[in-house]
Symmetry: D3
Subunit: 318 residues, 6 copies
């Protein structure tokens, strides 16, 4: 592998110094990397409390605390793949439909460039145009860590594109195969007893937090891996899957969520799947006075990066 990118050396430049990029990595174009770290500073899909438009910038800031080698595997993602900060995706804060088009076009370009995208949102609606850009060869599998199903049909009478609907749209548009779609960690009161009917009837597997607590990480993830199999799969991580004690800075927090220990174990169990990209969404810095949510997000981002680096490494070894 040539053209490797490395984070700034914190032994030379203190972690609080310098212009904050993701993981203190160099900036580059998707065509130059194996894994493109991308921000989507957009929260026009939020139906309630906003602020995730500031997510990419604050996660860049907090990711300065992230070191380079995973302490369990002893491996560094930067040794296994070319990784860089590929900047923020173009959006139009005043035009939701145009923004969806801008994003999907951008991700089609990332795919063409041959990079795996690892995205920081933004609200959860951004997963829809990402999937539009990536799933051009047919429906993909999907693993969703989340407190909410995000398979509503519409809000406010006529809003079909918002952060409560992306995965219903993705199924309807043939971007996601509902039989290869698993949602883990759902919880919290719902607006209507039929809220999960669409997902269930489409064949989506929903694992509520109560079932997760009963069964544990290993058992649940074994099932999840069986559901998506070896085919191309996307991973979406909504920060609100984590308990608000570590991630209160989000628009619709729900108590009783994953501990970060569990969240880290969940992500580590993705190793070896055929992932085509991943996102981390719904971090809202204005609702996060201590900065802990962004720190949690940055650390999960590193775990996701390590998993994607394994995908690159495995491909390189083929």
């Amino acid at each position: 592998m040539t053209g490797r990118f490395e984070p700034l050396d914190s032994g030379a430049v203190p972690r609080y110094a310098g212009i904050p990029t993701f993981m203190r990595l160099p900036q580059a174009e998707p065509a130059e990397v194996d894994i493109a770290l991308l921000g989507i500073a957009y929260d026009g899909g939020a139906t309630n409390r906003v602020g995730t438009r500031h997510g990419p910038r604050e996660i860049r800031n907090q990711s300065s605390l992230t070191r380079r080698v995973h302490h369990v595997t002893g491996l560094s993602p930067y040794d296994r793949a070319r990784v860089a900060d590929c900047g923020d995706v173009p959006v139009d804060p005043m035009d939701l439909m145009r923004t969806l088009d801008l994003i999907s076009a951008h991700y089609a370009g990332v795919k063409t460039a041959g990079a795996l995208p690892l995205t920081v949102g933004g609200d959860h609606l951004v997963s829809l145009p990402i999937l539009r850009g990536l799933a051009s060869d047919g429906p993909v599998g999907l693993i969703q860590f989340d407190a909410h199903s995000d398979t509503y049909d519409s809000f406010f009478g006529n809003s079909r594109y918002n952060h409560g609907t992306p995965f219903r749209r993705a199924i309807e548009e043939g971007l996601v195969d509902p039989k290869r779609f698993v949602q883990i960690g759902l919880r919290g009161a719902i607006s209507d007893a039929g809220n999960y009917d669409f997902a269930k009837s489409a064949g989506v597997r929903i694992i509520f937090i109560e079932e997760f607590v009963e069964r544990g990480v290993a058992d649940v993830m074994a099932e999840a891996r069986a559901i998506v199999g070896d085919l191309p799969t996307y991973l979406t991580f909504d920060i609100d899957c984590i308990d608000p004690s570590q991630a209160s800075g989000t628009g619709t927090p729900e108590i009783g969520g994953f501990t970060t220990r569990e969240a880290q174990q969940l992500v580590r169990k993705l190793e070896g799947l055929n992932l085509i990209g991943a996102d981390l969404v719904e971090v809202a810095p204005p609702l996060d006075p201590s900065g802990l949510t962004a720190l949690t997000g940055a650390t999960i981002l590193f775990e996701l990066l390590c998993v994607l680096a394994g995908v690159v490494d495995a491909k390189g070894a083929e």
Copy 2:
């Protein structure tokens, strides 16, 4: 059931809009409802850090995030009972003894009106006048989720009515049957080795957090249910039973408390008891810069509401 009340539809009116009532419910009088949501904006019983006078207002605010159907049971409390925001109980912030009388008179009226009161404090002293209002037919059972016993005799030489004494007074006054009284989650350093002597000798069952951790939710709650039996029982939930990682905005936080997962399970195990009311106390918004404590409180309030709605529903079915 006629005259059902429903929260504002968040699909029509965004959750951040409108005048904040509990659960975005209509305002009504106790005589119009089965369950009366009430605030007591009073913290004159606090011996240390204050601020719970702002609890009802901020929990109203955060409760706007609460949806209408419990995701485990699939039931909505608003389908099972008439529920409304019955406003704040009259208090006199400058006169503790008068406030006790104002509160107890108000709850006697709620009882007469036939509504089950679900109260948001205020400091823990408010449970005493509530019990005075409700236990006019003889001592009731009591389940207390709390970090502290609140059975001190007095403070500062002569203060017999404060948030460290309500349940000693309640036993002394014949409002609570100490043999049907269980305290769960107690922990933290104590002022004196004899702090629990009164409660123990009176027959109160104390389950410290260490015992709880050993035995788990199901075992502990089976015992608690056996202790209170089928007779009328009151439920008091001090937010400081929950770990400060989710509820630091309270006057006397103690580390090592319930996770919210555990707290939710504890409350759910109350289903089917003969409850005559419940309260949630000690949320202190000025000590809660992120708002997480109030959010936790609002979510527990919804769990309590679901349990009380079951009581109403069962009675209606008789």
Copy 3:
């Protein structure tokens, strides 16, 4: 005058208790009042930092601190006019153009009902649909206290309706007479040297903060009063006209603004004008950790209310 409304008596009910309405007033319909306090919980017009959707609720909360008699005039607005909290105006958070229509229809109704609207935003775009609702009889005069001109043509290529454009649209649509339009307090770096060209060529009078500091409140307001004359005039108060030391909780703060002393004097000098309504916009609670911006907003709201009550009183005396 019959049917007078009064704030809750703080000598009976403490200011922190009860469900927070504007000024702790009763809720009523526009047809029942002379002055309708209205919230618009919408920030879809913000091009940069958001959060003003939470403005109406937090200003309701802080307005509980506001007493009933103006200490300089010795008059109470509640003695001079029927005033109530008329709730939040319907909006669709996911659809800007629909929201504009919802708002303008609502204000047309308020006008028909015969009430003067006093509105709390929301971002500054909301002034446009308010004017559409109110200026149906021909262009009105406009006094704008603001740090920015808000007469841009468009943003992001195609966004013609956002919080940087309302007053260009209002002139183009014939809602505001540019010859009877004065902007006071403008300051701060601009995107382009021609930013003020449209306003200036249309005949709008711009008084920058530097000119204001030179001339003082009395002189500037004498000119402003001459500009709008005796004809119907609308008043818009962007909280960012005030210095960030008292109002940092707003999306685009600019240092060097009005002190609150000056702002109060400016508003008091509106007495006697032929005002058809007023608004206070751009308070963004998530950016206001101390709550000071909302308190400032609530106090200015009271000053505006006193001025509008004078309009009602004068009409009643005719």
Copy 4:
């Protein structure tokens, strides 16, 4: 003068180190000093938002930043008088009337010991028992810097002793000579048009902020000095006289107040008066996330200390 006390030398011990006493002074008994710095950690007199019980501790903390020589006079109070931290006055947080007695007894003792008390509150009610302790030889003069008159008769029907009433009680009890009483900086809406009637009819001189702005510091203070004359006079400084931009951490902030520049000038103009003590009240740390209010309070405390040191110095020279 023997037994001088000096603040810890910040050139030897950093300002953030060590146990925080007022001004980093030694602890001593009133009998050992000329000026006794005292805390009253009590807010039972607050009718609205509480938290000033934490005032003494946080002002001790912030006063660590205060150096020893006044830069205008070139004099150090510690060279002119023996000054020490005499600790917190006994209070009973659960019993207002007992607290009033505890405080007045304590100040009678301070007077007997021959020390001038400089007190940090606590809410404004504490000035009443201080005056009871100090004015045992007949009514004293009073200069009050404040946003509010604090001469109400009662609240909530029967509360005659709270932070809105101390100076009416002081006049009624013959502690203060209303003809030698001046209030400076009053402003803000009032509950009733007759709010100032008692004070005015008793002969108290009220200088509203509007008059102050017109006349300036020098003119106003010349009048104030003439009013109190050479006879014994007490000084009370409510932090809410200062604009909330520098002192938002208080229970009833009012915009449009003194700048700190003005406040410093006002205090400096007290030089040479026959002061028998002073207090600084109403700093509420839980409402002051940035700590700025406590810092402002600590700096004003130093200005007051310099004035009192001048009184001591002048007496020593007689």
Copy 5:
């Protein structure tokens, strides 16, 4: 035991009143006590985010909430040992090497005086000079609760003394016996795959969080006790071993740490070891807006105090 010291009685003086010492204890010299509570207000060893210089003062403040009897053992440390606040250790904030000498000299003095030191940092570098002061009779055992190993060689090219290196220096200097050194709770990404090589090759036992989660408190602590045996042992508790949900106010937080329940159990399992002192380090108040980290620190400090009191008690009984 004579000359016992007791915390201020909170039944007489409210917890928020008075000058804040550790545990509200009297101030005394090391020679007067069995256990000396000491602060080291120094963070010159921090390589990244600073602020722990404010740790001693804020932990003193929060420790006012700590009561006197351990609720599990029913014992009070103040009955078993003479304990006092012995103030802050001299440091030179501008000279790291001089500070190391000042600290080690101070602890040599504490040792000579016969007191066990219980220290509140400051950054983790302070453990090195403490060990220099205490381990003059040969290498001691060490139990370290921490997220990081702190056995780096150097930073920034030439910095051999910082908070990432103290325990490598301590081993090199013969202060700690690496065979009697156990580190518990390590986790988080590392700078280099060889980061743990020095510690491992020296014989230090590292128990990562993953192993801890597998085995549980009892099993891990049995091993730790076996490793250090009966010989003199020091205990160092870095607050960042605790999960950021309870301790985010620290320079290098790592998600996935100990719950406070676990942390309390870990400390309780130290009972009976031959401890020569302990420290609690890395609490950074400026990064802790809610104060929760300092509260957690103060509570752990009480647990450590109880363990050290047991050491004193056992010695007294010999």
Copy 6:
């Protein structure tokens, strides 16, 4: 002028998106620009509260709100000079003396490259090595806006290089001509009556805030301009010259400072001087929960940039 750099167009990319550089400018080397924006993330010179090491990053963040044209002059600095973000200067957080050398070498390089440096600190000590780098041709003039003189001799016995001493060192080292050195805005208590003796005897002109308030901006700046004359002059702006109501996030705030209106006027009066560079120091983000201090700093930075651009423009015109 070729190779002009422009900020990102906020009409195309929202202000909250993208990697934050100063003013959203491109990154470049000093040799490519006329004015080099530089950060120095170092606070090892702080004797009291720290945190200014985070200044450059947070000012970069807040400077995203800054637009491109000065509204008074109608000129854009980017039209008059090539300006870019030249990154952070190398420092060693663990070695003060080495850091001084690293900084001075860097600024010697900037001077050689022909760029005017505009620096964001960091604590005020950084001005010393900057002057070492720039004043290699003989002593320069100096205008200092500050609350403190920073001409102490030493702290803690032996610290001669810290943020209280830079300008005494600069005079001693012949970097600054004391006869061409003016300090404006000094105030606040001092440690010793002789604190200003060195500066005064060396010929430095000190204008205290009291004199400034008497005379006003125009008069004071006329004198300042006369003092430095037409010869090369450096400008240093300590954020604590501004009143804490707009800049509380700094290590040693002093009430009674410049309003931002005054500060802006002061900077604008520098137009036309022979400036060789400027710095803005002492912004401490961890002490600035609302972000207002950094916003104020960013806005002043823009004013300074406009003045320096005028210097470049004038030279180009020669």
